[in-house]
Symmetry: C2
Amino acid sequence: MSHKQFIPPKRTLMGPGPSDVSVRVLHAMARPTIGHLDPQFIMLMDEIKGLLQYAFKTNNALTLPVSAPGSAGMETCFVNLVEPGEKVIVCVNGVFGKRMVENVERCGAIPVIVQDEWGAAVSVDKVEVALKENPDAAVLAFVHAETSTGVISDAEALAALARNKNCLTLVDAVTSLGGVELDVDGWGIDAIYSGTQKCLSAAPGISPVSFSEKAVQKIQKRKFPVQSWFMDLNLVMGYWGSNAKRAYHHTAPVNALYGFHESLLVLKEEGLDAAWTRHNYHHEALKVGLEALGLELTVDEACRAPQLNAVRVPEGVDEAAVRTYLLNTFNLEIGAGLGALAGKVWRIGLMGQSACRENVVLCLEALDSALNNQGYPHKAGAGVAAAESFYEQ
Amino acid sequence: MSHKQFIPPKRTLMGPGPSDVSVRVLHAMARPTIGHLDPQFIMLMDEIKGLLQYAFKTNNALTLPVSAPGSAGMETCFVNLVEPGEKVIVCVNGVFGKRMVENVERCGAIPVIVQDEWGAAVSVDKVEVALKENPDAAVLAFVHAETSTGVISDAEALAALARNKNCLTLVDAVTSLGGVELDVDGWGIDAIYSGTQKCLSAAPGISPVSFSEKAVQKIQKRKFPVQSWFMDLNLVMGYWGSNAKRAYHHTAPVNALYGFHESLLVLKEEGLDAAWTRHNYHHEALKVGLEALGLELTVDEACRAPQLNAVRVPEGVDEAAVRTYLLNTFNLEIGAGLGALAGKVWRIGLMGQSACRENVVLCLEALDSALNNQGYPHKAGAGVAAAESFYEQ
C-alpha cells in the first residue's frame, strides 16, 4: 500500500452527525498543542465548564467533557450512577435506548424496559406505570431526541415523574443539546450526556456530561467501585471537579478541546434560544420542500425533532443508490435508517451549522435530481421553490 | 465570566507528553470534517491501519486506534483480554504498572504483583519465578517504557518467558512506540496499547492498539461479556476489523484521526529505525549537556529511556519554581515527578518532534538560566557548550 497525505473532499454534512464544522472550529483545532497541565490549559478548562453549564442550563459543579465520543459519555453515566443489582427503568424507542439496556446489563444491574414503537415518543403513561410497579427503581433512563428515528420525547414530564418517586433521571441529549429546548436544572435531570458532532457542530470525539448534586452524592457513596478506571468520576473529579487539584488522571485531548471550546463560544454568541429557533425554522423550510417533492416525514408532528428528519423512502426508489448519488454528484451526505428503520427511511440532519438556508436548498435540489435519476415521478423544482417561498415570507 | 477565543501560547513541549505537534499534523486536523461512514473515510481507516501495523511491526489484523486517550487503550486491553477470576501477573515499577493493577481488579480478576523499585527495570528473574509459581496465570502485563520514571524494561525477554508458559503478554507502549525498538510480532506480544502524544507527536486523545491472533481467539471465546460497551472489541471489530462491514459502532473522532494519520505518515517517511536512532542521538546530546551543568540522570544507563529523561532535582533547588520559571521565561514545558518521585525529579521528554537539536539546546540554556535564578552553583554556559560540541563531532 502506498501511503500519502489525506485530503478529504469538502462535503455538506446533513446526516445524523457529524454536522458541518465551521472554519472557526477547524482553525481552533489547528492551534499549537500545549500541555494538559499548563496553567493556560487549566484556564481553558474553566472556560469550557462555564460554557457547558450555559449550554445545559445548569449550575452543576460536575459538568465536563468526557475525553471520548458520545457512547463513552453514555457509559460514563451508567457505570458511575448504577450499582450492580439495582433496577433501572429504561425507555426504548430506538437504537440508543437499546444501547442503554446493554449498558445497564454490563453494569450487573437489572433493566426494566418500557418499550415504544420506533418512531414514536416515549409514553409518559407507560413510564408512570413502570415507576409505580417498580418503587425500588434507582434510575429512569431515556433518550431525549432519538437519533435513530428523529423523535423527541417529553424529557420535562418524564423527569418530573421520576423526581416524585425519588428516582434519578439519566438522559441522552446527544442529538438534542443546542438544537431544541433542554433545561437540565429546570427539569431536574440528574445525569446527562451529549455529543459534540450534532447541534454543537464541533468535530466528533468528545462527550459533554453533567451530574446533579444528588447524582454526585450517589456516586460518592457507592458500595462497589466503578468498573471502569477511565470513566470513574471519583478519579476524573480530581482533574475536572469544582475544587479539583487538577491532579493528573489522563492526558486530555487538547486540540479537540480547543475546537469544542470554540463551538461552545459560537453557541453562546448566537444564544441558546436563537439556536433552538433557527433549528426549527430551517426544519419548517425543509418540510415544505420535501412535501412539495411528494416526500413524507415519518414522525408525528407532535414529537418531531427538527434537527433530524426521518423521510420515508418512496416505493420503488433504491435507498442506498440515492445516498450514493447525492454524495457523488452533490458532495452531500444524508443518513441511512438504522436498526428497524434500515432501508425504510433517510435521515436528514439539520444540526448546528448545517441548519441553514444554503443546506436546505442544496438538499432539496439534490433530492430532486436523485428522484429524477431514479425515474421517480415528482414535480421537478417544486421542492426548492416551496422552500424559497417559505424563506421569502 | 466573559468568554473569548482561546489563543494558546506557543510552547516548546519537553515534558512527559504531549510532545511538540508539527504544523503538518496541526493542519491535517483542520481539514474539513467528513462523515465517519463516508467511503473516503473508510479508505483513511485502511491507511491508518496499514501505517499502524508498520509502526508496531505487526501483521495483526486487529490493529486500530481506540477513540480515546492511552488510559482507555490500557482499559481496552484489560477488559477484553481478562475474564473475572483469572490471574494476571502485573509488573509494577511506576505509576502505570500500578494503574494496570487497578484495571485487573476492576475486571474482577486477581493481580499477582511483581514489584520493582521506581526507577529500576522490571526484573526478568522475578517474572520468571512468578510465572513458575503461577502456572495458571492467563496474562503477563508490564510497561515497556515507564513514563513516570523513564525506565525501559526488556520487553523481548519478558514476552519470551510468558510465551514459554502459554501465558499471553499485555504491554504498555505509550511512551515507547516510535521512540525505541519495539517489535510486536518479532517479540510475540499479544496485546499492546500506546498513545499518540508521545513519540508519534500527534495531539493527545487517541490510543493505538493491536492484538495477536491468540488474543483475538481468547476475546471471541470469552465466558463473560466484556464489561464495557464502548471498549468491547467484539463490537468494535464490526467497524475496524479485517473483514468488517464498517457497521456503525460509535462516531469516530474524524479530525483527530486526520492528525494521527499524518503523524504516522511522518514516521513512515523518516523510517522506524531512523526515528529510534534520532531519539537516542538527541538523548546523548542532552545527557552530556546536563552532566556539564552538574545535573544527574536518575536511571541506570542500562535501562534508560532516551525519550524520557528523569533528572534529579539538586539539593536546595525548588523543583516547582524551576518549572514555572522555564514556562514563563522560555515558554518551555518540562515535567514534574509523579507518585514516589514527586518533588524529587524533573522529567525531560525528547519525544517525536521534540527530539531535535533546537529543543536540546533550548532546554540546556533554560535550565542554566533557572539554576542561576535559584542561586545554584554551576558552570554557566557549560551545558549548551557540551551539547553543541557533541553535535559538531
